[in-house]
């Protein structure tokens, strides 16, 4: 699959700019140029940055455009957290090099001055072109109001830019009017791979991107990266009242990640080494933990509940109840979790609103794995969403 895609998506040679002796010397240190792998969404941002890197350092760099996982022969991989989950949970990425580059919002492109409020009233001949690949599928699922069978995927950047209607990251938007899509922005991170042929050059590129070479089209400090303050004292889960992991996950996960008690209290997860953490409970394939918050959350303006999830953006599902015996009501299904960040806290988070389940209050929360990745194929000691903490944002006074 990878070979075929690579053939179709011809690698974009950013720098055949070997203009002096130092560049040729640098290139000879490894076999060929420094290779960067990124999906179509990030390519328009990275291309000028790589040209600038080559101009400044004399190191040739090539951008392979396509799904970042599998990374092929790349030295550096750039992707949204949802694209990198399997890489981040395995041995492929050198986590000590990981760099957050910023975010790119999704937009709905419509013809200029279009009077249509949304795409539900499209003409029969119109289709909404959607960026293909993992992030595009997620965006299409999250996008509200798309008529059935009225969308089509494309990974052709030229076609996406020319489409009358398109659901794309802003980096791929054409000349039409751009409207907010109501979809989680893409959050780009860059990492060197442990299999890199040019490890020193890869680190040098990451240092360049972290400093004055940071691509300008990424937003830094976007809305999703700022925590919403709790309106009242914000209690964390106090007691585990129920939990379940499949037998397969119990056997394949590291023992330290099979303890549901790790989901209690304030967020405290830390990475100890490659795919080794402390302070989190890995839910395996569709496992869950039900916690007593020790107080009741109420439906108030904004989000009411926050789940801290440690690794990439692994999705979680949350159900809520007023009684330990239930019934538990679904308030959020397979929500990408970890996009929100709070300085000083290793885990990211995602928020839930009791109103989504038409609940006015809840004390017991069931947090379920939403990744649903086959356990037998996991290849990691931390399979499934990794729960660090569960917090009430709006507490009943």
């Amino acid at each position: 699959m990878t070979l075929r895609r690579s053939a179709l998506l011809w690698p974009l040679a950013i720098a055949a700019l070997l203009v002096d002796g130092s560049a040729r010397e640098a290139a000879s240190a490894g076999a060929g140029p420094l290779r960067v792998r990124a999906s179509e969404a990030f390519a328009p941002c990275l291309e000028p940055a790589l040209v600038a890197f080559t101009r400044e350092t004399g190191l040739p760099a090539v951008l392979d455009v396509g799904e970042p996982d599998p990374p092929g022969e790349a030295d550096v991989v750039v992707g949204d957290g949802a694209e990198l989950t399997r890489l981040l949970e395995g041995p492929a990425i050198d986590y000590t090099t990981t760099l957050d580059l910023g975010t790119i919002p999704w937009v709905l492109v419509v013809p200029p001055y279009s009077e249509q409020a949304d795409v539900s009233a499209l003409d029969a001949a119109d289709r909404v072109l959607v960026l293909g690949g993992r992030v595009g599928r997620d965006a299409l699922v999250a996008f509200k109001g798309m008529p059935a069978a009225r969308s089509r995927f494309s990974r052709d950047r030229g076609e996406l830019r020319q489409a009358r209607y398109a659901l794309v990251p802003r980096s791929l938007a054409g000349a039409g009017e751009q409207r907010p899509a109501g979809v989680r922005p893409l959050a780009a991170s860059a990492s060197a791979l442990n299999t890199a042929s040019h490890p020193a050059e890869a680190r040098r590129l990451l240092a360049f991107l972290a400093g004055h070479g940071r691509p300008g089209c990424f937003e830094v400090g976007a809305a999703g990266a700022t925590a919403q303050a709790a309106t009242v004292a914000a209690p964390y889960a106090t007691t585990v009242v129920d939990w379940w992991l499949p037998d397969c996950s119990l056997r394949t996960n590291a023992a330290a990640h099979n303890d549901p008690q790790q989901s209690l209290g304030a967020p405290n997860a830390q990475r100890l080494a490659q795919d080794a953490y402390t302070g989190m409970f890995s839910l395996g394939q569709a496992g869950y933990v039900t916690v007593d918050m020790g107080a009741s959350a109420i439906d108030a303006p904004g989000a009411d509940i926050r789940v801290f999830q440690t690794t990439s953006f692994e999705p979680v599902t949350v159900y809520a109840a007023t009684s330990q015996q239930g019934p538990f009501t679904l308030i959020g299904f397979r929500r990408d979790c970890g996009f929100g960040r709070i300085p000083g806290i290793f885990s990211g988070y995602c928020d839930f609103d009791l109103a989504e389940g038409r609940l006015t209050e809840a004390r017991y929360l069931k947090v379920e794995d939403g990744e649903i990745y086959p356990c037998l194929a996991s290849g990691t000691g931390s399979e499934g969403a990794d729960i660090d903490a569960v917090q009430i944002l709006n507490q009943r006074p």
């Binding site: 699959m1 699922v141 059935a148 395996g284 394939q285 569709a286 679904l330 397979r334 649903i372």
Partner: protein
């Protein structure tokens, strides 16, 4: 075969044929036949809750009516119920052809109900119907059995994401759908 005792054939006995009318002969034959089987009741046919989910099954999945593609999509599966963890019994159901983990379900089995995750990510899995299929759902279904037969799910529901495509790198190319009312069955084969 040489030592096998021939089975008596009642209606070939001349004396019975002379003494009894034909209709009465049949009634008597049925009565004797029933008596020879003891007092066993007729085989049960009504499904009862629960049952052991183990062995070879067919998983049939029907996307929600709100999806642009309807299926059904069926897969040969193998199921095994494993020892209880604490008070919990679990059931693993995997593809019975090729790579088992390309379609894997991990269920909690309590209160005669299977509930858990069904996943086929990556390159997807080819259904018996020939369509390549991707799935990430939470599925729930009551288990029933007939007599001493294995447990089956005849009316399950599922919440989540399904997609179809033309090839391994075409997830969603022919359609994708996230819904709360997919349905599935898990029947023995």
């Amino acid at each position: 075969m040489a030592n096998q005792t021939p089975i008596p054939k009642l209606n070939h006995t001349p004396r019975f044929r002379r003494l009894l009318p034909t209709g009465l002969t049949i009634v008597l034959a049925v009565a004797l036949s029933a008596a020879s089987c003891g007092d066993d009741p007729a085989p049960p046919t009504d499904p009862l809750p629960g049952g052991t989910v183990s062995g070879r099954y067919t998983l049939q999945f029907r996307p929600s009516a709100s999806c642009a593609f309807r299926g059904p999509y069926t897969f040969p599966m193998t199921a095994a119920t494993y020892a209880a963890v604490g008070a919990r019994q679990g059931t693993q159901v995997v593809l019975d052809a090729g790579t088992p983990a390309s379609l894997e379900a991990e269920f909690l089995y309590v209160s005669n109900t299977l509930r858990g995750g069904v996943g086929a990510p990556g390159t997807g899995v080819v259904a018996n119907e020939g369509t390549r299929f991707w799935i990430r759902v939470i599925a729930t279904g009551p288990v029933t059995h007939v007599g001493t037969g294995p447990g089956e799910v005849t009316a399950g529901t599922a919440v989540g994401y399904v997609a179809i495509g033309a090839s391994a790198d075409d997830e969603g190319g022919l359609g994708l759908c996230s819904a709360v009312d997919h349905t599935f069955t898990l029947r023995t084969r």
